[in-house]
Amino acid sequence: MSLQEDILHRRRARVLYWVIIAIAILFFGRLYQLQLLYREEFSTKSVENSIREISKEPIRGYMYDRNGRLVVDSRPSFTVTIMPYEFSREEIPYLAGLLSLDTTFILDRLKNGEAYSRFAPVKIRRDIDFQTLSALEENHERLPGVSYQVESKRFYPTGARASHLLGYTKEISDHQLKSLGKDYVQGDVAGASGLEGQYESTLRGRKGMEFSVVNVRGQVVGRLEDGKQDNPSTEGEDLLLTLDFGLQQFAESLMVGKRGALVALDPADGGILAIVSAPDYDLSWFSGVTPPRIWKQLNQDPSVPLFNRATLTRYPPGSTFKMVLALAALEHGIVKPSWRVSCGGSYRVGTKVFKDLHVHGSVDMLTAIQKSCNVYFYQLMMKTGLDPWSAMGKAFGFGKATEIDISEENPGLLPTTAYMNRRYGPAGWTRGFLPSLGIGQGELGVTPLQMACYAAALANSGICHQPHAVWGVANRAENRIDTLSLYPPHRMPVSAGSWKVIREGMRRVVEEPGGTGTLARIPGITSAGKTGTAQNPHGPDHAWYVGFAPFDAPRIAIAVLVENAGFGGTAAAPIAGKCMERYLTGGSAPQTGDAKTPPLASAIPVAPGVAQ
């Protein structure tokens, strides 16, 4: 090799050295960039890759009635899930066929789920039956990524329905998904109505989280740090209801085939004993997946079974409201109980004639209540005036929500002078409106629940409690019961003498011959009440009854509404009477338990005030 070539080779070698060094600098620079500058970002990604959060569904809390009887519990059910990254969309039509679902529904679900994570299972269908489950198992090979989870669904062990009160759970709606917060994902179940909705946060418990290490196929290969980071799910807390499910079932049986509502409460504390809205529906239709057919049927039924008449209907109370006027007149010293009116069967104000059903002759207050004389109360209303009457109605809680612990409630309507001026203008209405209001007709609206509270206040001679369906919350895990706080009972500003008169009138309604409510009589127990017949421009009158028993020491107050059934004394009073009889004569005897020690572990304690 010549010297010249040697020099050339040295030069070429130098060029090649520099090329190699340039490559080295490029690669080292890139390594520096990835491993030192972007380390954070890639570490996060590598953790996301390999760590899966598997949420553990909590067991939803149970419900017990006032006697400690289990009325709502949870049983296992199977929910079909899809793991998006394993699933092939070509199999959607096949899967849709197996599950009898829409292909678009599955696709939408899948897309929503993927937007969250390709590695988190998406719930597709709840509560599949064993046949479907085994069909899925058989076609496992064809449906990679399709699996199932065990979840719970509601089960109702008693014969009572209490549909509107208990409410149902449903797959969470988009609206709830926003409002309930981040502990929920699509496909979760949440309370949608009634107590299930109102006490959702109590009943649900807390989801647990397990952290698993997975490989590229998503197969779990172990627990993260041996499960040190896991947190178990927390069971939902149990609701302790004031209801007596024996009475509830009985009351429901009395309302079968009728439209209306029944509310019975314990006058001592405002606890609901029974609450019925008829027609009702079977909650078990909602515990799994509700077939669209049933939804359609329930929504199109002209008798609107989903509507909670007990708290949402607003009807004039009819004659049941007469005690409000009587009390207002007595308290304002407008008349004495002995004030008499001669009833000729009608009453004229200007050109308007107000009618009565009968000619009652000369009646005093007690007789007017007993026989429900309209003419007496027309005149009394004209003497008393609108605002004292409204004030008394307000003291009973009319015209505003009772604040019962059921989410849905109509406040009703109780007119005042201010209201009438607003509605019709100061010159737009006259005293000619008053007689109707005096007998509970006209522009006046009450709910059956408000009427039950009214009955309880009459039973208690003016002590009003907050109506409620849940008295306590039991935490099984911590062996602890929290009593729910209610607003303190208040005493209405009414003298004892007035109460005595009014209550005596109500007693005569039931117990004396000629009373309108004698069909509500309870053998061996003195009770009191008042019938009502609300005029209905759209059809037959609505029948009302309010009452309480026993007369001297009331343990139950009740309001019954039967729509389009005619007279309160014939259509509503018998139902009220039978219910009270059943409750008072021990048709639903409380289960016995040890009164001294109510250990949660062994038994759910009964409501305060229940004989044990």
């Binding site: 050295y17 060094i21 080295a24 690669f27 890639f42 570490s43 990604k45 890759n49 290490v213 490989n215």
Partner: protein, 405 residues
């Protein structure tokens, strides 16, 4: 004694190769540390034994025998490449394997060696000059023949390696700048054309300018220039004529980020593995990306991620440094060798290693498209390891005889 060893034994290259092989074994052990571990790791261990033996044999072969064997071995490997096309075994879409009982051999790996030997043998002849077109054509033919056969398998990655071997050799053996440019230009321009018209025009302008300043024969320069433009334009026409899915495939090849679930998936996972390693790594057998198999067939083409994830910048840097040192050793040997044959052969082997390293690590780092070529001494694969050991053995042989003409 020590001086004698230093004189005849390139212990530096030997240590580099030993270290790389050891790191490779550790990485394969880690990447397959599950049920399959024993199988793959055990097989690679056996290949390391066979490779080490081959290295020693080749190192100790009489120098002249090596040169003497060049052409016959080349002929044999071409015959094998033809044979493998006719009756080979198809693995992941390309037919490049021979099944010899439990051993599977990849003739393309060995063809690299024989091509390097033959190229060196031809170009070192005193009557051959790269300034002559017919000699240049023969040299190109020597490389193109196996390359075309390998592309037929099809194994685009390995074929690419021949280009990486050829250009340094041309440069080393004295091809003019004009020759190098003329050969390089059409390929680069065609590639640029795939990236769009702007890239294409820029490449044409750059090469036009370079061709102009070499002051070679203007007619030939004009010919090369027009060929370059023609190729570029026809590439764009061909691309436009392709079906959308084919265009998409090419787009994903050039930029994996456009298809993060397909071609981009491996690159993304590889970058995550490397990036999450940080400075010191997650520890041996504790790299989550590696242990949980987030990178498919990591022990083959993505082996670089293992030291990068488990030993961080320190581990990846060490591997990179060793590989760079190996290349520098090859160039150093070439410049120290007295005989043109030894020099060209050292450059051919260095070029082969270099193109493997650049394509493989460039891919793992997300700098280059996904092309499946193994990383020398680290990737799992018997034929590849054996071929690398033989090439290392040749380097050691050349070192021992570097002072001979």
């Amino acid at each position: 004694m020590w001086n004698y060893i230093r004189e005849y034994f390139d212990y530096r290259t030997f240590l580099i190769v030993t270290a790389l092989t050891a790191i490779g074994l550790l990485s394969i052990y880690s990447a397959t540390y599950d049920a399959r571990a024993s199988e793959i790791f055990g097989r690679q261990l056996a290949w390391v034994g066979i490779g080490a033996f081959a290295l020693l044999v080749v190192m100790l072969l009489p120098y002249r025998l090596l040169q003497f064997l060049s052409v016959p071995s080349y002929a044999l490997s071409i015959a094998l490449l033809v044979a493998v096309l006719v009756m080979g075994k198809t693995v992941s879409g390309s037919t490049s394997w021979f099944n010899l009982g439990t051993l599977r051999l990849q003739p393309s790996e060995f063809a690299k060696i024989t091509t390097a030997l033959t190229l060196a043998s031809y170009l070192s002849r005193s009557d051959v000059s790269l300034r002559r077109v017919n000699n240049l054509a023969v040299a190109a033919g020597i490389v193109l023949l196996p390359m075309v056969l390998i592309m037929l398998q099809p194994d685009f990655g390995t074929a690419l390696i021949y280009i990486g071997m050829f250009f340094p050799v041309l440069y080393w053996a004295g091809a003019s700048r004009f020759t190098l440019l003329s050969l390089l230009a059409p390929g680069v321009v065609a590639l640029a054309a795939l990236f769009g018209t702007t890239a294409f025009l820029l490449a044409v302008l750059a090469f036009g300018f370079l061709l102009y300043i070499t002051k070679e024969n203007r007619v030939i320069a004009a010919l090369v220039f027009s060929a370059m433009v023609l190729i570029g334009i026809s590439v764009q026409f061909i691309y436009d004529g392709l079906k959308p899915y084919q265009q998409k495939r090419i787009a994903a090849f050039l930029d994996p980020a456009v298809d993060p679930r397909g071609a981009g998936y491996n690159i993304l996972q590889s970058k995550v593995a490397i990036g999450s390693g940080g400075l010191l790594g997650k520890g041996f057998l504790r790299g989550t990306q590696t242990q949980l198999n987030f990178i498919p067939e990591q022990w083959t083409d993505f082996i670089f991620c293992v030291p990068a994830e488990e030993f961080g910048f320190l581990g990846a840097g060490t591997v990179l440094l060793l590989l760079i040192l190996l290349l520098l050793r090859a160039v150093h040997l070439a410049s120290a060798a007295k005989s043109p044959y030894a020099g060209i052969l050292a450059i051919a082997i260095g070029g082969t290693f270099a193109s493997h390293i650049v394509v493989n690590i460039g891919m793992s780092l997300g700098l280059l498209p996904v092309v499946g070529v193994p990383l020398p001494f680290l990737s799992y694969g018997g034929s590849s390891l054996l071929a690398n050991m033989i090439m290392a053995g040749i380097l050691l042989n050349l070192y021992a005889h570097r002072k001979e003409y």
